[in-house]
Symmetry: C2
Subunit: 394 residues, 2 copies
């Protein structure tokens, strides 16, 4: 079957090598991954099949990971992964959402076939795709295995992007610029919110400059008015924009599942003084903090620099101000590794990609202006070129 790979096989093999280094350091002999981004990272697998149990098994001794999934999805693995036929395992359909058995019985049998049932097995304990039931069934079926928590083990390997990954993220960044401009051009008093959202999602997929897009890991977050007082509401399909609306836009471009997210804020009418002031404080703080970022400083030092910019301004920001991002699937383009917040001692290194996102959500309205950046050898580089301002339409 003809394969369509997004990276050179050598790059996948290097990823496997780096993951094995971490497995060994953590005393893990077999790693069981369920996170779709981690599965993709090691094998290339790319399909919307994660709503049933599936995964990747990697042992310290094998050069290739094993993919397993529903039988009807196994051709998807043949097409999108670099794995050979012996490393692709389709399970029968009766396991799917069964009330009598569980897919982890099948997985346990695979692990027994590999003769790893008495070994140290790493599992992603706090992952969306690894349910409490999955853990229970595996423990029951493999009573002699030692289970270790490997949550985010591969995510941490993913934090340093390769040149080929950065290339896709730059393409996603071009798409994102186009998407954000589309939104800002389309929003106006009297326009249906859904009609703007429709143009936004169309631009996300159509892409630019010959780069087609993918559906991002988060739907377009574009609330207006009172819905901007909170972080994760979106447009109201039955509402038109009105004079006096604040509109928040948190939108991403996506290319082969690599993201480039951006936030901006638009006001319809003459903005209240309070909003103008917050915008000025946030934009100044953003620029000052970006100038400060370079390899060798820690994530918490970035947040501290930002927080100093707020001193005496009356603006408060009680939540984290950024997170690592890159390859991902729903429900989050965040990588669940580096967070820009007090206590995060991660040292920034070249190749890391972080969304600096100091969103402010007050009870009446919110303001967002963010920048995704790449840590370079000497400092940081904004991945996206888009004006940093409170956009105003009168």
């Amino acid at each position: 079957m003809h394969k369509v790979l997004r990276f050179d096989v050598l790059e996948y093999k290097e990823r496997v090598r780096r993951v094995k280094e971490r497995m060994d350091a953590n005393g893990i002999e077999l790693l069981f991954l369920v996170d779709p981004a981690n599965m993709n990272y090691l094998t290339g697998y790319d399909g919307w099949s994660f709503y049933v149990h599936q995964g990747v098994l990697l042992t310290l001794e094998d050069d290739q990971p094993h993919w397993f999934g529903r039988q009807q999805d196994s051709n998807g693995a043949r097409i999108t992964t670099w794995l050979d036929e012996e490393h692709i395992h389709g399970y029968p359909d009766f396991y799917v959402q069964s009330r009598y058995t569980h897919t982890m019985v099948y997985v346990a049998n695979l692990i027994k076939e590999f003769k790893y049932e008495n070994k140290n097995i790493g599992v992603e304990m706090d992952n969306y795709w690894y349910s409490a039931k999955s853990m229970n069934v595996l423990r029951q079926e493999l009573p002699c295995a030692v289970f270790k928590d490997a949550t985010n083990l591969v995510n941490w390997v993913r934090t340093i992007k390769s040149p080929a990954e950065i290339n896709y993220m730059r393409q996603a960044a071009r798409i994102c610029e186009h998407v954000m401009q589309t939104a800002i051009d389309a929003i106006d008093i009297g326009i249906w919110e859904k009609d703007v959202a429709s143009k936004v999602v169309a631009a996300q997929i159509a892409g630019v400059d010959g780069y087609g897009g993918d559906s991002p890991a988060i739907f377009p977050i574009m609330p207006s008015d009172i819905r901007t007082s909170t972080a994760h509401l979106t447009f109201d399909p039955d509402r038109k924009y009105q004079k006096g609306d604040v509109v928040l836009l948190e939108l991403s471009g996506c290319r082969f599942r690599y993201h480039a997210p951006l936030s901006r804020t638009l006001y319809l009418g003459e903005p209240p003084e309070g909003l103008r002031k917050i915008a000025q404080v946030v934009i100044n703080g953003l620029q000052t903090t970006l100038d400060f970022i370079k390899p060798g400083i820690t994530a918490e030092e970035v947040e501290l620099r930002w927080r100093k910019c707020l001193e005496g301004t009356g603006v408060e920001k009680p939540s984290r101000v950024g997170y690592a991002f890159g390859l991902n699937y729903v429900p989050d383009w965040g990588e669940h590794t580096v967070s820009l917040r007090p206590g995060d001692k991660t040292i920034l290194r070249p190749g890391m990609t972080i969304h600096f996102m100091p969103g402010i959500w007050l009870d009446e309205f919110g303001f967002e202006c963010s920048e995704p950046f790449l840590v370079t050898e000497k400092g940081c580089e904004k991945l996206i070129n888009f004006p940093e301002e409170l956009f105003i339409k009168k």
Copy 2:
């Protein structure tokens, strides 16, 4: 804060009453829900915040469920739920993806506040949003509680739709017809696959007849050529449609998170005889089976009737041929309750909505033609009006 509710408060209260009946029948005194669709069903909560831990707690004694989530999302609960201020709980940001503590510590403290730490607690053991780690932490923090598996407890209550829910699903059906027609009109030899996908997602959000749409729980599944040999690949953003392509379209309309999914197949050129034959068999089987469906028969009897239509035709279908659907979020519009397959003894009842989806995926190509239907008092009603045929463009 001004509330925007999609259903009457009385309807939410009736749902709570029906869920409590099931809790009582299962010996559950406090139900802890994490499934975003179940949270929405009982409270109205609608936001893209499920990528962090959040949930709903319902006790047998209280008339209202409790919502908890990240502090910055609590205004989202104030706006979209019918709950009063005492039933909305925002947790501090340091719990988010922390390496030192876990949101379930916060949840355990809430349960202690409610004085339910020694009671029978139902949890959704095999749900995407209930990780193995969540279970571990809760067990540790609440050593005297008895945990019971409440996976799909609320999903089963959701299987029977109210008139107001069916109304939204009919609106979603109108959107879906528009979306499918948009796709079929746009696909042609030499057209970029991404440009068709872009029109599809735009139509999903723009809606029709004044009904704005939402982002469906599954991205547009629209593979071509060899990618149709499997169930869950989509368009290739860097490919143009070619003569001889089979294109599968599994697309949904979505209205206030209620879905209406549909599958159709299009061929570019003169279809091979094998594909024509499969199409004829599937479409005949579809119609015969729909005529057979009425309240009182079981899910497995529907599948058996379908399977009989295949006898002697050479067409095989080894996976389930349908599933209940309705209200949902990513990654699945399926309800995880009724499956049309051998062994499912569920008796069909008026108000159930099922996607009859006998997809065929062979090694060279696939064929899909499906119908979502509503079980009525006397039979079943197709929710969507769209021609059942192999669409051909020469």
